[in-house]
């Protein structure tokens, strides 16, 4: 037996390990939370304070009310991410079902083609995508972002859904077809309800991907009223001289909804990420 007594014995080691991991993950967000609760006077006092001494919500009011565009950014982010999620799921579910279930030649090749082409470095395609959207008249609209985001989501969603469809017993489908269901009825009544957990997992991953995207949102929707949250908050800086307390409050408001969703469905998210995980 190794000597595992002393300082690093079981319980204490585990406590230290958990503390390191939790601090690493939470500290930046907690620090921003503290910053957002400080008054301007406290923030610019030296030496700097760690905990807010006189917590105030003034920065939140400033972020949400005095910056009328913040609510617009929030709305844009929600609409774009939801639209992208729904379309991604539809497109990926169709493709994944074909790959998982149909008697197609070169199924593996089709899957590889979908994954390889949607993992193409987006930045190199920025210019032609910009031109395409300009030609279609879609710059500064939700459409400009939704379609590229669907492509961005295609590999993860397709991989997660392929593995889910493969786990549904084929006999169930055959039975439904023998009972006289058409192919689409079988899809709608048997396959879809059974794959709901997979669809949900893929949906969360797609939503987070779309919610986080920055480069295209910055480049294609330059109009202030069409910015998403990451772009809108980043560009606060240009319009005022680094309003850090207000930026912190805006960040907290933007982070919390997604953090709650992730916290509730963490097991699913981890499962989906490791099954088809592709995001950096």
């Amino acid at each position: 037996m190794n000597d595992r007594g002393g300082l690093l014995s079981g319980v204490r080691l585990r406590f230290i390990a958990a503390t390191i991991v939790v601090l690493n993950g939470f500290f930046p967000a907690v620090w921003i939370l503290f910053t957002s609760l400080k008054s301007e006077a406290e923030l610019f006092r030296k030496p700097i304070t760690y905990f807010p001494h006189e917590p105030t919500l003034r920065n939140y009011i400033a972020a949400a009310v005095d910056q009328p565009l913040f609510q617009v950014f929030m709305k844009n982010s929600v609409v774009v991410a939801l639209l992208a999620t729904v379309v991604s799921l539809l497109v990926a579910a169709f493709a994944a079902y074909a790959i998982a279930r149909l008697n197609l030649k070169r199924r593996q090749l089709i899957l590889t083609a979908i994954i390889a082409s949607s993992m193409f470095p987006l930045i190199t395609l920025l210019v032609p995508i910009f031109e395409t959207m300009r030609a279609l008249g879609w710059l500064n609209s939700y459409l400009a972002l939704v379609f590229p985001y669907v492509v961005l989501n295609l590999p993860v969603c397709t991989l997660v859904l392929v593995s889910f469809f493969q786990s549904i017993p084929r006999d169930l489908e055959n039975a439904a077809m023998i009972d006289g269901c058409t192919r689409f009825e079988t899809l709608w009544r048997v396959v879809l309800p059974l794959s709901a957990p997979g669809v949900f997992t893929a949906g969360i991953l797609a939503f987070v991907n779309a919610w986080d995207e920055f480069l295209l949102a910055l480049s294609l929707n330059s109009n202030a009223a069409m910015r998403t949250l990451p772009v809108g908050i980043t560009l606060y800086q240009g319009e005022f001289t680094f309003p850090w307390p207000i930026i912190s409050a805006a960040l907290i408001v933007a982070i919390v909804p997604v953090a709650i969703v992730i916290a509730i469905f963490q097991e699913r998210v981890v499962g989906g990420l490791t099954a088809g995980g592709l995001k950096g």
């Binding site: 037996m1 190794n2 585990r14 390990a17 958990a18 991991v21 939790v22 601090l23 690493n24 993950g25 967000a29 620090w31 921003i32 910053t35 923030l43 030296k46 030496p47 700097i48 497109v91 990926a92 169709f94 493709a95 079902y97 149909l102 197609l104 979908i114 082409s117 949607s118 993992m119 470095p121 987006l122 930045i123 190199t124 395609l125 920025l126 210019v127 032609p128 031109e131 395409t132 492509v151 295609l154 397709t158 192919r183 987070v208 986080d212 920055f214 480069l215 949250l229 990451p230 908050i233 980043t234 850090w244 960040l251 997604v258 992730i262 963490q266 097991e267 995980g277 592709l278 950096g280």
Partner: protein, 298 residues
């Protein structure tokens, strides 16, 4: 003979396959395939969207300009350096986090959430938060630095420390995804292997190198490949932390392409830069894959 309507309602395998796959391939054609073609085509033109004088075929001129362009090579060097630092960095930090998170905790969720939170955070937000951490006067890092006896520093305004700050932010942001992938790999290693090694008297250190690392190799390779591909595209974090400054000390290739095309609307030259980046990522990805497969077979 079935009517086309019947066939649509109850199609053959092949027809159904075509119907189901067509949305995905239509989108890929619009967003990926056509743009790739257009990219190479554009790179042979003098094409500025600002002037409105149309585009002019100039052959390989853009490529000649690119090779002579110092800013292009600076940005390429920065991109390669960021990749070489942050990919191994994120692997080491991610592996450490995964090993810590793999201990048998009574409650799993705080640890798991702590790994998921940085992953779910938009890169742009991570950049903003770390910029605030490195703030010259009111930043947390500077405060710790001064308390330890250092002089206050303008972290993001000197080339070397700005570059280091960006690498730290990228490693923090990307190591949690790495840790999640590696943690899944760790949990698949059978406990019996460690028990057998224990019986044979292997030390913890030996167990790590003889069992954990080899068994984890497939997960490590997957994580490294994805991380390398994304590291080459680094944009959000330097953009939000330094905007590429001071000077162009932290400007990546992605930022240079963005500046040329979206800010200056020089589409011809920007497309040539993007072709350069395309070639670079192909070379590095291929070299990387070869290196790894050679290591694995050795």
């Amino acid at each position: 003979m079935k009517s086309w309507l019947d066939r649509l309602r109850d199609p053959s395998e092949r027809t159904l396959g075509v119907i189901l796959l067509s949305p995905a391939f239509a989108l890929l054609a619009l967003i990926v395939v056509y743009p790739i073609g257009k990219l190479f085509y554009n790179s042979f033109f003098d094409m500025r969207l600002s002037g409105g004088q149309g585009s002019k075929w100039i052959g390989w001129q853009n490529y000649a300009d690119m090779i002579k362009d110092g800013a292009f090579w600076d940005a390429t060097w920065n991109t390669v350096l960021i990749t070489l630092i942050t990919v191994p960095g994120a692997l080491v930090v991610g592996l450490a986090l995964a090993l810590l998170a793999n201990l048998p905790f009574k409650r799993q969720w705080p640890v798991r959430l702590a790994l998921l939170l940085p992953w779910a955070l938009p890169l742009a937000f991570a950049g903003l938060i770390w910029a605030w951490f490195f703030h010259t006067e009111y930043g947390f890092i500077n405060d710790v630095w001064v308390r330890m006896g250092g002089e206050p520093r303008m972290w993001l305004l000197s080339p070397v420390s700005a570059f280091a700050a960006i690498c730290i932010a990228i490693i923090w942001k990307s190591s949690s995804f790495m840790a999640l992938i590696l943690l899944a790999g760790l949990q698949m290693i059978p406990k019996s292997l460690y028990e057998a090694a224990e019986v044979d008297g292997a030390s913890r250190w030996q167990q790590f190198w003889q069992i954990t690392v080899p068994m984890l190799m497939p997960s490590i390779v997957v994580a490294l490949i994805f991380r390398t591909i994304t590291a080459l595209q680094t944009f959000d974090i330097p953009y939000t932390m330094t905007k590429g400054g001071p000077g162009n000390a932290t400007e990546t290739l992605a930022m240079y392409i963005h500046k040329t095309t979206i800010d200056y609307l020089d589409v011809g030259f920007g497309s040539t830069l993007a072709v350069g980046m395309f070639v670079l990522s192909m070379i590095l990805t291929a070299a990387y894959l070869r290196h790894i497969s050679r290591q694995e077979s050795a």
